[in-house]
Assembly symmetry: C2
């Protein structure tokens, strides 16, 4: 028996009770039953995003709501400043260019970050810039960007700050209203412990003002129109009913745990994972603040990181992820977000020790587990 | 005990075995397991759409792929001819206008259809029209439009025919290649017996040619880019994994039944339903070819159709649908698509008899069931 374990940086495991809730007979979306479900989910999302604004759901994956944030707040020819320090930063550039926006990329080598000072300089150089686009957690490199800092330097300008929180919502603290973030977008398959297929977008007052004059074309992803339905406890188009049922379940679980505890849990899992891999002499890929959602690890010299990911799957029935794009072969990524707990981390590290030994690396068995245990013991 | 029955014109019931298949632990989408699943689903979709073209899936509801068909094949300022004889015809107009297209609406009173001759005349009057947009089954009125006829008159022109098959795929025969339809779009929650959240789009060679020069902006719904991933057995963005697992299950069920039998089943259910409601002296809303997906019924004089729909739910735990938009209060709609069989029809009709009697109508108990039984007996 090799128990199946999903430890990739998304999709993440779905709790069995949530899977079974979603397996209940499907209900119609224009009924009192659905309305009650939707109202609870809608309110729970506001708590999770830490905002008084509506959090508008869409049936789509994360990239759909990235696009939604752009097309609802910007107009053709607008200039946007984009933090590009990973594959998802590059995705913001692709979306912006697809809609004819002028892109000012602020690049950093993958694994590093872009400082708020650089964003401030770019805003000063481009006073007509209408938006700053950034990830919170960049899933391709395992870096957590300084969204609080970006918000501080964007606040006094005419630009809005749009944040991809796909791998940070319910993982890393992102108090939208308190920090002054203008758009937060996220999906269902990371911190929310659900299958992929739901996206969410929340806009600040400043972003809603911008939405009034936005000329980029949209229909399915029209957040302003959808919000009118949300206000009536409805969905404009047929919603992904089974995923919304699951959403209510996971929001209850997160509320029971308490949001502060959820963030602490992820922080502890991330610190334990980093301590474990470093105890094996491995190098972290992140050379800036690491993300609490995942840990990107540089493969030992002479070993293809894809071979490590393949061994996790083949020998231990554990799905992790290799590197994306130019990081393929160099980096493997361990997810510890969503439905993830201490002994999952222990499992991942123990498996890593076995795999490195199998690949001919010198391994002090138990070293990574010991390092993780010490993190967990320090309460 | 009142057994819950979903008999709305979508979402439709999901078979328990499919619900349980979707409740299996979530898998990652960049694994051999997902690839095998995706390849089977992709091939099954081609059989269902009766095409040699790729059927490209998206995580979205039906309206998302309606929009995808427009933005991938048309350019700003293009003229489109739209069949508007129901709420979903109006949706085509809204999407086209959102993208700055010139709309030539061919309207008919709701409950009626637009003949292929009218489409041919419009194409002759607007030789630069780039597309004809139509529903196959118009779910708001219960009418089946003559897509075969539309294809015949569009084929020799520069226009492409884009068909919303959301409530006809796997319900009414729509041989895309044989009829020469240029774009077929559909969703998961009707004939496919799945929860909402998956959409599909297939384009003909003529439509793919058009896609090469289409200038409307798109990113998430870029069918040409997505098709390159489909060809490698992949998804560009995180797919709705659990729904794709369900998709494989329902495609196996439909293949086991045989596509011709699937269409026959829906036709029989529709004929039995119509015979039943007419046996009660009720009038069908469709004054053109009725859809095999649903039956729209005019409420008896002096009775609000919403009261009938409410009684189905309150007194019998059966969800049906009332009328949309201006048909609200006048029309109720009985769905008989997807996971629907003979005794579901009997149940719906028996409940309708009870409800009409409760509302003070004279009812010959058993009359509608008898009429339906005769249809089923005539094999």
């Amino acid at each position: 028996m090799k128990k199946y374990q999903l430890m990739a940086p998304g999709p993440t495991p779905v709790p069995s009770q949530v899977l079974l809730a979603m397996a209940r007979p499907i209900i119609h979306h224009r009924t009192p039953e659905y309305e009650a479900l939707f109202v609870e989910a809608r309110d729970g999302l506001k708590t999770l995003v830490q905002t008084r604004q509506d959090v508008v759901p869409f049936a789509c994956s994360g990239t759909g709501v990235l696009e939604a944030a752009v097309v609802n707040t910007l107009s053709a020819g607008d200039t946007v400043i984009v933090v590009v320090a990973g594959k998802f930063g590059e995705r913001w550039v692709e979306i912006a260019k697809a809609y004819g926006l002028q892109v000012v990329p602020l690049t950093a080598p993958f694994g590093e970050t872009v400082s708020p000072e650089r964003v401030a300089e770019a805003l000063a150089r481009h006073p007509k810039a209408q938006a700053v686009l950034a990830q919170h957690s960049e899933s391709s490199t395992g870096v957590l960007h300084d969204v609080r800092g970006y918000a501080a330097v964007t606040r006094g300008t005419s630009a809005i700050l749009i944040v991809d929180a796909v791998s940070s919502l319910g993982i890393a603290d992102l108090p939208m209203d308190a920090w002054g973030v203008d758009a937060v977008v996220a999906g269902s398959q990371k911190g929310l412990m659900l299958p992929p297929g739901l996206g969410f977008a929340a806009l600040s007052e400043k972003a809603w003002e911008r939405a009034k004059t936005s000329t980029l074309p949209k229909y399915y992803f029209d957040i302003a129109v959808e919000r009118r339905f949300v206000a009536r406890n409805e969905a404009r188009f047929t919603p992904a009913v089974s995923l919304v049922i699951g959403l209510r379940e996971v929001l209850r679980m997160l509320a029971d745990e308490g949001l502060a505890n959820v963030f602490k849990r992820h922080d502890r899992l991330a610190r334990a994972t980093r301590a474990g891999v470093e105890a094996l002499g491995l190098e972290l890929f992140a050379r800036a603040t690491p993300s609490p959602a995942l840990t990107a690890v540089v493969a030992p010299r002479g070993i293809d990181s894809e071979a490590i990911a393949a061994a996790f799957s083949r020998d231990h029935n554990i799905t992790i992820a290799g590197g994306q794009g130019e990081m393929k072969g160099q980096v493997f990524r361990l997810g510890h977000m969503g439905y993830a707990a201490e002994f999952d981390t222990i499992t991942a590290l123990a498996a890593l020790e076995q795999i490195l030994a199998d690949l001919g690396q010198p391994v002090d068995f138990g070293a990574s587990v010991r390092a993780a245990q010490k993190v967990f013991a320090a309460r």
